[in-house]
């Protein structure tokens, strides 16, 4: 056989082999694929299935309201209205579930609910679950949310400055959470407005019997130290196993492919779910995800805003856009920079080649930038119109949000006037130079930074801003070391309450302001008062004052509140959105495929 014939034979053989492997050719359109199985493909899969460790959306999204349930739940798309779940009613003052002083909450625990291992759920399990969530307290974990709500705003950890377990933390928690018959009674140190909202997301009930049987904490004070503050995920009992009360049971978590398979809980306390199976797959690259959606191999895929066009117009695929999520993006001014070894501030002096460490402490500088940044254009062009212009930290959909809140008019003249006043006129005369960092890969933040740079440099050639995208590992130490003069970051809600935005953005010990060096005693007082207030009207009035301070002092230049894009096959039925759902696929119990 000559070469050409052999070559032809090789090609023919390859084609034949390919055809042999064609067993699974699918049409991609038309008939529903995997009729009773929901397949979700996203990037960044779960890192743990233990509710006490999980503090990321991918992990929580895998188990929350699928495997595990909460005492109360959000009513439909509302974040301020609740329905009972594992409690039989939502506590209120009217039904006696909340005491008049707003400190004591009584949850009547539903009877007849069974965990996936067959054991009955009791009030003791609920108490144990809350204590476990609060007291295991992994470093950087979510325990602070319940700790501060129950034990007081100043309690955010179970350990002291030397990382030793606080001796009476178990006793205080044990006293605060009591079992009385079939009720769980929680007595807060102080009234706390967001408490019910927190419970709607974070009162995750696990089976004590299951945890203990698998070598986990038994709930006793004496054994707590052994389980508290462990650094790695697998040191937590429910890392890769689960026994909840939810409509789906954990079938498997293949960490090799980071795929979680859930199967229907046929002994569910309500009617069993319509779906027989849920498969949560991790596919880091967009290309394969997009093609899986097109071919019907995936029912939901995660899509970055930048990739929206690539999924538009695919037959059998629907896009649901403009779904509010509770997030706020902003530029943060560093009011007290660390100059030591700081390469972001040039000469470190106001000489046209740098900035002094306290450059942004002059409010005229901050206001100048606020007048320059075109937030409407940012939302329109960088976010393709998918977002809401932010007038303050509190996002749309949360108590206290003011769509007509005050903000600085977009005006070159006003910006120039502010910069002329800044530092006694030296800023305008000598100019400045500094580096504006964003975490590389975040296109919208890059665009925001670039827009601010261009706007500033267009009013005075002596103004120079160097925009740099850096990896997170480079960004974080500079942030922590207070070496970033001006930076872009965002915040997503832990719970749907204005406190979760006012506190990090404006409290003197907030996650952001604590680093920025911003302090305002009035803001601190108002934030605390608003947190302790339980009357929504009074709270709204207090948050209006807090937003007024955010405008007046402008330690932070708010840009936009985000919206979510959900991309799914059109055959998905029963989907709805709630801003507090951590993941786009929402509440799977109510869903099916056509």
């Amino acid at each position: 056989m000559n070469f050409k014939r052999k070559l032809l034979a090789l090609v023919a053989l390859t084609m034949a082999l390919s055809m042999v492997m064609l067993s699974g050719i699918a049409s991609g359109q038309g008939a529903v694929k995997n009729q009773d199985t929901m397949v979700v493909q996203s990037f960044g899969g779960p890192g743990t299935l233990d509710p006490s460790f999980s503090y990321d959306t991918a992990s929580s999204g895998a188990f929350l309201w699928t495997i595990y349930e909460t005492l109360i739940f959000f009513s439909g798309s509302r974040t301020d209205l609740y329905v009972p779940m594992l409690a039989t009613e939502v506590p209120s003052i009217a039904n006696g579930g909340i005491s008049r002083d707003g400190r004591t909450y009584t949850f009547k625990i539903r009877q007849g609910v069974k965990f996936h291992d067959g054991s009955p759920m009791t009030a003791a399990d609920v108490k144990y679950s809350l204590m476990r969530f609060m007291l295991l307290d992994p470093p950087g974990g979510p325990a602070w949310i319940l700790l501060s709500a129950v034990l007081g705003l100043d309690v955010e950890t179970t350990r002291d400055d030397n990382d030793k377990l606080i001796p009476d933390i178990w006793d205080r928690t044990n006293r605060a959470i009591q079992v009385k018959g079939n009720n769980v009674v929680i007595t807060l140190k102080d009234p706390f407005g967001p408490f019910l909202n927190i419970m709607a997301t974070w009162s995750i009930v696990v089976s004590k019997r299951f945890v203990v049987a698998n070598g986990g904490w038994d709930g006793a004070k004496a054994t707590l130290a052994k389980y508290n503050g462990l650094p790695n995920e697998d040191q937590y009992t429910l890392f890769d196993k689960a026994s909840g009360t939810g409509p789906f049971k954990l079938d498997s978590w293949d960490r090799k492919t980071n795929t979680v398979v859930l199967v229907r809980n046929d002994s569910y306390w309500r009617a069993p779910a319509k779906l027989r199976r849920v498969v949560l797959q991790t596919v880091e690259e967009f290309g394969p995800r997009r093609l899986a959606l097109q071919n019907g191999d995936a029912d939901y895929i995660a899509v970055d805003r930048a990739d929206q066009l690539a999924v538009t117009g695919i037959p059998g695929v629907s896009l649901v856009d403009d779904l509010p999520i509770l997030s706020t993006d902003a530029f943060f001014f560093q009011l007290a920079l660390n100059a030591q070894g700081n390469r972001n501030i040039g000469s470190g002096r106001l000489d046209g080649n740098g900035i002094p460490p306290n450059f942004f402490s002059d409010i005229h500088v901050r206001r100048g930038f606020a007048h320059l940044f075109d937030r409407d254009r940012f939302v329109r062009e960088a976010l393709r119109g998918k977002g809401t212009v932010a007038h303050g930290p509190i996002p749309k959909g949360v108590l206290g949000y003011n769509p007509k809140g005050q903000w600085y008019e977009l005006s070159r003249d006003k910006a120039i006037a502010e910069f002329r006043e800044a530092w006694g006129g030296q800023v305008w005369e000598r100019g400045f130079k500094f580096t504006l960092l964003y975490n590389a890969g975040n296109i919208s933040r890059q665009t925001a930074a670039q827009m601010l740079k261009e706007a500033a440099e267009s009013i005075n050639p002596k103004f120079q801003i160097d925009v740099q995208g850096v990896p997170w590992a480079t960004y974080l130490p500079q942030y922590r070391g207070r070496q970033l003069p001006l930076y872009v970051l965002g915040w997503i809600a832990d719970f749907a309450d204005p406190h979760n935005f006012a506190q990090p953005f404006l409290s003197s010990n907030g996650a952001f302001t604590g680093r920025q060096g911003y302090k305002n005693a009035d803001a601190d007082r108002l934030i605390e008062a608003a947190a302790r207030e339980t009357d929504p009207k009074k709270r709204a009035a207090l948050y209006a004052q807090i937003e007024e301070i955010a405008f007046r002092d402008i330690p932070t230049l708010y840009t936009a509140h985000g919206v979510r894009l959900v991309v799914k096959r059109s055959w998905v039925r029963g989907w709805y959105h709630n801003p507090m759902f951590f993941v786009g696929f929402g509440y799977l119990y109510s869903q099916s495929k056509q």
Binding site: A26, P139, R255, T257, G287, L291, I492
Partner: protein, 341 residues
Amino acid sequence: MTAFVGRRLILLPVVAFGVTVLIFALLQFLSPDQRASLYVTDPRQFDRIDSIIRAHGLDKPVHIQYWNWLKELAHGNFGWSKTASMRVSEAIGAFFPNTLELTIYMFIPIILIGLWLGTKAAVHRDRFADHFSRFFAISLRGLPSFVWGLIVLMLFYGWLNWFPPGRLSLDADLYVRSDQFRTYTRLLTVDALLNGQVWIFLDALRHMAGPILTLVLVEMALLVRITRSSMLEVLRQDYVRTARAKGLAESVVIMKHARRNALIPVITLSSLLFVGLLGGVVLAETIFNYPGIGKWGAEAAVQLDVPAVTGFGMFIALVTVLGNLAADILYAAVDPRIRVQ
């Protein structure tokens, strides 16, 4: 030969130790804050960075960190990989068989087609076969593997739906996870056959076809070029002329006298290629969402997952040493003039 192999094997732990020291030393250029970035992924954790650093011992002196790591290693614990959500040793055990399987399947066509085309090109120098193979090699190497990967993915999954990405289709995956499927070798296609499940074997093959095709296209080209030039060199030798003068059939001259002698550089390249592929074919694994060791290693490096990077580095060093040892042994087998000292 035995002494040589023994000496090389004794060197393995030394190499492994050296690699870990090197990686640890390099990682010390990163501050504790930088290494903590693996665990701090959200502004909500900003207030708790100190406790995260202390909990993971990132603030301890380097020799203490290294000593602690060695102590754990003595108990078979390479540390915890946050990127894989499992222990490093588990991760190696989970990901490496996938890459090994992929490598074997792609290596066979690379060698067979590469040798065949390269030999044809040399024997038929400046004729169609030669022009074709050279054009073939240049055009395939002309595009980077991720471009070929995307083309293959678009064509064979997006359009034809023949070769899906990932490891298995949903039904096969659920079957493999079930109690009905036993794992013998961790090589999925082999285990599928040992379980008598031909459909799983074919399904696994379908899912590997994309990365295999991509890498065969790209890597084969180099082998064609090397084989061709090596063959041309050998075909000019006196002993080949002598063989022809003796009246031996051309096929015997080519296959027995020329090609065998031309194999030395081919073996060198092939061993390097094989070891390189075993180290992980990062782009192909990433594009095709194939859970191989390269994809994991790359993610670990990007996220500064120190235990994972150290364990991965050590493992790959061992694979490299063993790969080179295998090449040395092959030299002697192919060419009796070479005696391993």
